[in-house]
Amino acid sequence: MFINFFFNLKSRGVPVSLHEWITLHHALAMNLNDSSLTSFYNIARAILVKNEIFFDRYDMAFLDTFDGIETTDEMLEQILAGLKKVKELHLTEEEKRQIEQLNLDEVLKNFEEQLKQGHYKNHVGGNRAIGTGGRSTQGAWGYNPAGIRIGQGESRHRSAVQIAEKRTFKNYSSDITLDTRQMRVALSHLRSLLPIGAGERLDLKKTIDETCKNAGEIELVWETKEKKSSKVMLMMDVGGSMTPFSELVERLFSAASSQISKFKHFYFHNCFYQDLWTDMERNKSIPTMDMIKSEDSDYKVIIVGDAEMAPSELTWVNGAIDYWYYNDTPGIVWMQRIKEKFKDIIWVNPLPKRNWEYVHSIRMVRDIFPMFELTLDGLDEGVKFLMSGKCALYSRK
């Protein structure tokens, strides 16, 4: 039954390896969890799960496996409620010997019976029932070597299953849309776009050359590897249905811009036309054609937008949503042009993936650009695609 936990974790996509599973058994063999399910919940998580984004899935797997399990935790809880600390018990040697003759099985049986009968309530001293300071087999601060020691020190006030049920780590899960807390984590995923640091090494050949020329006086020559910088371009949909997302996305990338040596960003509304804005308020703009002509084609381009619009905005002349704006070329043609110019290009969509199929314009845009969700998983895949041209969903032709 226990092995089910392992498979439950696996089936929920928590990357657990056999190595870790065996480590957990080592820990259990050493009784590091103190025979408590609550400690087990915590320790097993520390050993099996190595990223907080999986904590939620771990909780669910834990619930699946251990829901309704009978634990001593709750029993303890009930007993403790009735226990009070009293003076420690002093026994003669003879009495101690008598008590030692009891065996643990009997004691456990006795324990459960007494519990059922409700003997534990506020019981102090005495020889039979559960209580404190007594000679009975149950309770704390008493004397009985075969006894069950309960409640010395503080107890945990919630059982593990309840903790798991709360699912406190839901927000850390990687498949929900990014919120602010996760910005930093998301940034770390963009970091794989960053150049690899410069190395410094002793150039042996040149050092020998220089040293010889210098009549034996040592002259060290260091060789520095050149930095390979990556260029990133962000194009973002602002206004309309994107308003709730715009500030989040803006911040994600403005933080990124300080780390990427060449960073450009442009804005558009719903679809590209002959102008691209350079500020969020859409006051300043440059002609799209100029951008396509003048920028290098090795930019990694990330387009952020919900791609939710009327199909006419994509396909019609003068289809642009802003009534004062006239476009003589349909938006979809501009999309094609941009796609042809930049070979590494992805579209990141803040809408959940399950909705994509129902929106006609998203389907159209997806035919042009590889589309990813704006979640940690989605960004991960997207960045992978930008860097290598391959990922689980798409591969560059």
Binding site: P15, S17, H19, E20, T23, H26, A27, M30, L32, N33, S39, N42, I43, A46, I47, V49, K50, N51, E52, F55, R156, T168, D179, T180, R184, V185, S188, H189, R191, S192, I196, G197, L202, G216, I218, L220, E247, R251
Partner: protein, 284 residues
């Protein structure tokens, strides 16, 4: 056996304490992850203090290479010494300098090794240390020596999750994620720093502190260390809890950013939570 119970000046949750003890018992490194200012680095100091062991700190930078932690063969010094022939350079040993990891292995006593902010380094960095951390030994080809730990050090690794750590490395570790402390635990933490702080002031200050943390748009949410600084400022400034209710004095100690301060100050006037705290001020 070593059993870590925590120290007086470091408040620790039971979960984290359990995990520290598991990592000590299983002799595996403990990776501690969490928001900045949740006391990741202090944990190692606290463990060293509680168990009476020496602490070696290895601070990782973006340029740190795994090799530096093991040993350094100072070839340039040797070359330099060889020039004049006045010192004996045949003994390579004197040019081998052990790094932090090497030091921890070579020590006779068990000690605590803190590898701080491992995610700062190159992505390959943890992978390069896999075998060394697993076996707690490494080989120096120059002197044909093997440095092997007599007693496995207690290894604490902290990470700010700037980069993901490689899976094979994680598999060998115990993992703990420090959540941001709730109000109760935070009160305990504050009491460690200011044992005689006024209750009312603390409560009011914490209310404001958690209220500020609620803002989603903040670039940098204030953390425990900023709260401690702020309280220090409040105490030194002789600010009473009434003033804290009305406004937020010394906001600059909590927020380090112009935009963040604007957001809080602007919202502060109209925000519901802020106003309720004004309305209920006579309750306490």
């Amino acid at each position: 056996m070593n059993y870590f119970k925590g120290t007086e000046d470091y408040v620790i949750s039971k979960d984290l304490r359990d995990n520290v003890n598991v990592s000590i018992a299983l002799q595996r490194p403990l990776i501690v992850k969490g928001e900045p200012g949740t006391g990741k680095t202090l944990l190692a100091h606290s463990i060293a203090k509680a168990l009476g062991k020496e602490l070696i700190v290895w601070n990782i930078k973006s340029t740190t290479k795994a090799q530096e932690g093991l040993y350094l063969y100072d070839t340039v010094q040797r070359l330099n010494d060889a020039r004049f022939g006045d010192s004996d350079i045949s003994d390579i040993k004197q040019y081998i300098k052990l790094g932090k990891l090497g030091e921890a292995f070579a020590s006779k006593e068990q000690l605590v090794l803190l590898i701080d902010e491992i995610d700062k380094a190159d992505i390959e960095f943890p992978n390069d240390l896999l075998n060394e951390i697993d076996e707690m030994s490494f080989y120096i080809p120059e002197t044909k020596e093997t440095i092997k730990a007599k007693t496995r050090p207690i290894v604490i690794i902290t990470s700010n999750s700037e980069k993901e750590l490689p899976d094979p490395f994680l598999r060998r570790c115990i993992f703990h994620y420090i959540e941001f402390p709730g109000q109760e635990l935070m009160e305990e933490i504050v009491h460690v720093h200011f044992p005689r702080i006024e209750k009312k002031l603390l409560r009011e200050a914490l209310k404001k502190f958690y209220w500020i943390r609620e803002f989603d748009m903040l670039r940098k949410k204030p953390s425990t260390s900023e709260l401690i600084d702020w309280l220090q400022a409040l105490i030194i400034g002789g600010i009473s809890e009434k003033d804290v209710e009305k406004e937020i004095p010394f906001l600059g100690t909590l927020l380090k950013n112009k935009e963040d301060m604007d957001i809080v100050q602007k919202t502060g006037k109209t925000h519901y939570a802020y106003n309720t705290s004004m309305r209920t001020r006579n309750v306490y």
